[in-house]
Amino acid sequence: MDTFLQQIINGLTLGSVYAVVALGYTMVYGIIQLINFAHGEVVMIGAMVAFTVIGWLAANTTLPPLLIVLIGTLAAIPACVAVGYALEIFAYRRLRNAPRLAPLITAIGASIVLQQLAMMIWSRNPLGFPQIIPNTVYHIEGATITLIQIAIIATSVLLMAGLTFVVYRTRLGVAMRAASQNAQIAGLMGVNVNQIIAATFMLGAALAAVAGVMVGTYYGIAHYTMGSLLGLKAFCAAVLGGIGNLAGAMLGGMLLGLVEALGAGYIGDLTNNVFGSNYQDVFAFLVLIAVLVLRPSGLLGERIGERA
């Protein structure tokens, strides 16, 4: 039982990270039906900037660790917002009425460029993310949970709540929802659609910055290639939940985290070790495919029209 509980904790932590990154994908998709494939690199930039700031502060000041991490996060956010904004302006804005796959290619190009720039700034080495928060371990029923895990789950829940508030209770949110329903009419109603789209990108990038700090602190490592796989997984999570749907991204992220943890933990025992943890991704993808075959627009996605 303690092993099972432990796997649930592992899955929820991983799922929280996926969920926060998935929110960035789904927000942009909701508004302009574009998959921002460079989003994973924005997470990477966030982790890298935080790595530098936290490392410097930890070495040169005597501020309390929690405050240092907070400052690091606050420094990463504007950097990521700038990158997000730049992506929108340079890679996507011109292509808003282009064929659907054109932005995919610019996104790939932008990913390569961002990775190479990060490599020039932060070197090729895997960097040890400063471990300054005392990683207290708590025991519940034989399972362990660390302070960082609690912080990650709590932060992601707070972020989701905050984002829901922004989207459903503020003028910006009303404008975003209007633009996503019909950009042209929203424009006629006095919404500056370009600004709203840029704001969406920036909001997603800010979330990515926080996710970058989470990942860095949790795994203790930052590397210039760290964004690709994370971005891909989070994208899968967003699709699983129903891309374009905020609650869907959260649900998809959590679910994917749990599926991966339980898959790695139990496939071996269930199949008498014919299949092992080496098939955990197969398991995750099969769940994904099964969900999509049964519900072709994700768990919470609306049924899309035939001309989507």
């Binding site: 991983l14 895997p126 040890g128």
Partner: protein, 420 residues
């Protein structure tokens, strides 16, 4: 129209390039008979393990620089060595293309590639051109099992290294049950298999294999499962970028037993990645420690590149020096002429004595067992032919008798347990 324009363009580019290629050798000075010998080096310089690729390249670069500073004479001419460095991107299909590029550029020899998966397809291209290649980091046994006469490696094979760390683990920690994890790459899986073989022969039980990938950061699920089975030791086959998080998460979950790694994770980077959790893990490396064989390498590397050597640079450094030494012996930089000398060379390098067997593998290579002690990996023991010698005894013996140190040291250390 478009099409023909593209062809013209291509043609123009090709002409331009061939022009570039021909301008390459600088204007020969008629007075001093100087000879330029090119040596190629290939490794991934972009992508996930680019840092290791650059480290390999630096090792080779340092050797070339030293050789040029020494002013080597071959066939009555003063030789200037020139290095061509290429990025193979870890992609198997780039291997033959880069190999061909080196051959077109008339290199005398090649140091590389880093990944076995790239070295193997490239090796056949080098073989057809008769150009020797020495790899400092491809450990897959298959590379030298192809029956090619031009392939050598300065690093230990998986099936030399796996038994070393496994037998050390078995004799020192006496575990009853060991968990083996790997990163599902040719390197990690190969090493894991060899460790499993040795442990099983030694009567140690091994849990069903767990796997991640070379990009896995989250090992918690796998480790939680392992924790439930209560092993007495954990071995992981993979690189430090994944091993660091694995070790950290293992300790967080409360797994208190010893963690062991292969050379991929036998680096000081582990301390940065795992923090305090890094303390006390054991790992193995091919050859004898650089600090014993050639401490000058460490300081020279630091001085030249302003960074510490990471991993395989001593092996590419040795590989480059081997090529040059063989050329000197044969008094020729012609691949066909110095290749036989390379095959029967005996050379004292930064990783100990290097001789090749008939396949091109390092002859009864010593293995060193390291342990992470207060933030640095420190040599614990040297393993030769299944016998383990304490590092201090080894150093003492080496100081007493200069060359045949290894042979003398084995009986001189009765305290160390032995197991095959």
């Amino acid at each position: 129209m478009n099409r023909s324009r593209i062809f013209t363009l291509c043609g123009a580019m090709v002409l331009l390039l061939s022009g570039c290629g021909k301008e390459e050798p600088p204007a020969p000075k008629a007075a001093a008979p100087e000879m330029i010998v090119k040596i190629g080096h290939a490794a991934p310089l972009t992508g996930g393990i680019a840092h290791l690729g650059k480290d390999n390249e630096n090792g080779a670069r340092l050797a070339i620089q030293e050789a040029n500073a020494r002013g080597i004479m071959i066939d009555g001419k003063k030789v200037r060595f020139e290095m061509l460095a290429e990025d193979d991107e870890e992609k198997p299909d780039r291997g033959p293309i880069i190999a061909q590029k080196f051959i077109d550029a008339k290199v005398a020899g090649v140091v590389g590639h880093l990944n076995s998966g790239v070295s193997i397809p490239a090796s056949t291209v080098y073989a057809q051109a008769g150009i020797p290649m020495v790899t400092g980091s491809s450990t897959n046994p298959k590379l030298t099992e192809q029956g090619l006469k031009n392939v050598f490696r300065t690093v230990g094979r998986d099936d030399q290294q796996g038994p070393a760390i496994a037998s050390y683990l078995a004799s020192e920690y006496k575990p009853k049950l060991v968990a083996i994890i790997d990163d599902a790459t040719a390197y990690g899986e190969g090493l894991g298999n060899e460790v499993e073989k040795t442990l099983t022969v030694a009567g140690v039980k091994v849990l069903p294999r767990e796997k991640g990938s070379k990009d896995t950061r989250d090992w918690k699920a796998v480790l939680t499962k392992i924790k439930g089975k209560k092993p007495d030791a954990v071995f992981y086959g993979g690189m430090d970028a994944t091993a660091g998080p694995l070790l950290k998460q293992g300790r967080e979950l409360g797994i208190k037993v010893v963690f062991a790694f292969g050379d991929g994770a036998c680096t000081n980077t582990m301390k940065d990645l795992a923090g305090d959790a890094a303390e006390g893990f054991v790992c193995s490396q091919a050859g004898i420690p650089v600090q014993a064989a050639n401490p000058k390498f460490l300081t020279d590397y630091k001085a030249r590149f302003n960074t510490e050597p990471i991993q395989y640079s001593p092996f590419t450094y040795d590989g480059t020096h081997l090529l040059i030494a063989a050329m000197q012996k044969a008094n020729s930089a012609e691949p066909a002429k110095y290749l036989p000398e390379l095959a029967k060379i005996s050379y004292d390098g930064a990783t100990g004595k290097i001789e090749f067997d008939e396949k091109g593998d390092r002859k009864n290579a010593e293995m060193t067992i390291f342990m992470m002690k207060s933030g640095k990996i420190e040599p614990l023991a040297i393993i030769t032919g299944g016998a383990s010698v304490k590092y201090e005894d080894f150093v003492k013996a080496a100081a007493a008798a200069a060359a045949p140190a290894v042979a003398a040291a084995a009986p001189a250390a009765p305290a160390t347990p032995e197991k095959k």
